[in-house]
Symmetry: C2
């Protein structure tokens, strides 16, 4: 099936400043999303790799949070300074940027269907 080779989702969810969860938007995620989009286009990857703004990715404590599909690589605490490295090393080079990968024990999400009806 034709598709984007990689699909990068950047959380731009915004919560009320009084919310103890915090939010990615307050940590600069709109600027990170814009940088991904601009730099991917400059790199000639428009429509090959899509930088996509997303609402809450449910990893608020790790914001700015990004997930790269189809490999499901999760990055946390991403800043503008990290965008070039993620693009060059991971998106183009295929090697995740390990120092930014969210440790499995800090990710919300359950990698199994509890009732046993696995679909993968």
């Amino acid at each position: 099936m034709a598709k984007f080779q990689k699909h990068v989702f950047i959380c731009v969810n915004e919560r009320d400043p009084s919310d103890p969860k915090g939010c990615c938007a307050a940590k600069g995620s709109p600027e990170v999303a814009a940088a991904f989009k601009r730099k991917l286009h400059e790199r000639g990857l428009k429509r090959v790799v899509r930088a996509n703004k997303a609402m809450c990715l449910d990893q608020c404590a790790q914001g700015v949070t990004i997930v790269v599909y189809p490999e499901a690589t999760w990055y946390g605490h991403v800043t503008l300074d990290d965008v070039d490295e993620i693009i060059e090393q991971h998106i183009v080079g295929g090697r995740p940027v390990e120092r930014l990968v969210i440790p499995p024990e800090k990710l919300t999400g359950i990698d199994a269907v509890p009732d046993g009806s696995r679909s993968r």
Copy 2:
């Protein structure tokens, strides 16, 4: 890596009504996203499968547009009436709902890196 078993992104992008591209929001995508979230929770799949609102998925002509990762199955023209079928047949049962799958020739996106530096 711990993660969601499946991650369902529903486009909720909103464009000005005068934009000839149209948008998923005007076709009812916020209600479709809410239905996915509610029904997945009712099905006991909270934190196993995440329904995630996304900004523009770049398939405006096919809206309401949804993409399911990690398998990268793209659905178009999704309505509230389709949500149960997608959850039961695909998310739980593992068989995509073919009648809703966007034909490859109608998808934007290029499934190869033009300069040959493939990363998958």
